[in-house]
Amino acid sequence: MTVDGLAFIGTSRFGYELSAAGLLQGLDRNRISAGIVAPVHRSDHDVDRANEDVASAARDSGGRLLALARVDPWDGDLARDHLVRAVRELGARGLFLHPAEEHFRINDPRVRLLAETAGELRIPVVVATGYQGFSEPVQMTQFARWCPDVPVVLTNGGQYNISGLAQTDAGLALQLDNVHVHTSGVYRDDWIELVVSRFGAGRILFASAAPVMNLQYELARVELAHVPQEAKELMLDGNVRRLFGLGEGA
């Protein structure tokens, strides 16, 4: 089985959109059993409503979609309240942060409250990573240290540069045991092989980042990777189930 480690549903103010039905169709077309979903940044900036919509889609999906809560650290203590409510009342299974779209620096001391809250709630954190000035991989190490018992998942292989200029920095982040990376949009493909061989297959997860990236292509990136079959199975299924507590039935 295959689980998509991250997709977005909703209509983003940044010009992309995907409905829950559309995502489920995409998962079906690609024989993917389940997906972790995060809200987009809505045009009305209503974080609470975005979390409600995604939680509702997850409840209606028959267990195929699992919701992450998305909050904006600029909301201060209210961001913490949004996160706690999303987890305790709406059933969110993790926290998603997008420093570039919400325009904050991931290692800004104001973000520490959210890292520590994730620790108290015992939920993993997924961070849109690799954006210069917002979520560089070495900035991520500071965030990850604020919540050492929480799995922290870096999108885009931990770096987002078409020359691979931050790969060494992504490697520094992976030296922290709680840091993991997504396969979405990875440059270069041998980075996937390197993460598996150097840090272990338990540290890298398939994610499509749909609709920002192409679900079919991102799946092919893992299926065609030059790694042992056992590693591929962990990347496609086992790791995301372990980190997000997803049952075998999903």
């Binding site: 987002y160 440059y187 270069r188 493909d189 041998d190 079919q216 292509y217 092919a220 065609l224």
Partner: protein, 246 residues
């Protein structure tokens, strides 16, 4: 005929750069790629003085499968021009590669423009690294294309992650710009490029062997082009640009 417009061979252990011709061929065979343009990671003149010989030997070892591009540092203008003329005129290289991240030479600087013009006069294209870093974005390279209307300028990675729309826009404005598909993760943008500038100006590349040619070829297939357009993107255009019999 499937041709990969962008592969690398180099041997600089100190920097961890060891990509052999044999590795390229192995990955090409896996992907069903018939031929490839190969170039070093380092610029000439520079840290690998053997770069020209390395690429020349690789092409000699795999005739009909590997075609050389010479990667040059524009700051060494006279020597670089001499190397370009030797590579193309004497050794049969099929193109020029420029990478402003490694050279820090701006694409529209006089030294760079002189090289691009010389490449055009020699009848070979210039492949730029074109991504998200300063000096490599489509809008940074476009003035160079405008200054050299008789030279073909290929935007490798077609703008990377964040500058793909700009790559398509500058290609609409400058008919001598060609877009190359490697590493950028958006199959739908390949289709959009074909629709907006024509399939004749989009070429398949992988940036292999470290980026996977089999995956990069799959990206072109996912783009959902017509069979005729797919054939142009995957090989027909590269054959025309490099003077390779299709």
């Amino acid at each position: 005929m499937i041709i990969d417009m962008h592969m690398h061979i180099d041997d600089i252990p100190a920097l961890g750069w060891q990509m052999s011709a044999a590795q390229c061929i192995e990955r090409m065979d896996e992907a069903g790629v018939d031929a490839a343009a190969v170039m070093t990671i380092a610029d000439l003149p520079g840290i690998n003085p053997e770069a020209l010989d390395l690429i020349n030997a690789a092409c000699a070892d795999f005739p009909g499968r590997l075609y050389g591009f010479v990667r040059l540092h524009p700051w060494y203008r006279a020597e670089a021009l001499q190397l370009l003329r030797r590579a193309v005129g004497e050794l049969g290289f099929r193109g020029l590669k420029l990478h402003p991240v490694s050279s820090l030479a701006h694409p529209s600087g006089d030294d760079t423009v002189a090289l691009i013009q010389a490449a055009g006069e020699l009848g070979v294209p210039t492949l730029f690294h074109c991504g998200d870093e300063p000096m490599t974005t489509p809008l940074s390279i476009a003035p160079a294309a405008a200054a050299c209307p008789d030279s073909v300028v290929i935007l490798g990675h077609m703008g990377g992650y964040f500058h793909v729309d700009e790559a398509i826009e500058v290609a609409e404005q400058h008919p001598n710009i060609v877009l190359e598909t490697s590493a950028t993760p958006y199959p739908e943008k390949i289709r959009e490029a074909v629709e907006r500038i024509g399939a004749e100006r989009v070429v398949f590349g992988s940036d292999g062997p470290v980026s996977s040619p089999v995956l990069e070829r799959q990206k072109v297939m996912i783009a959902g082009l017509s069979p005729a357009d797919t054939a142009l993107v995957l090989g027909g255009n590269a054959a025309r640009l490099m003077g390779v019999a299709a």
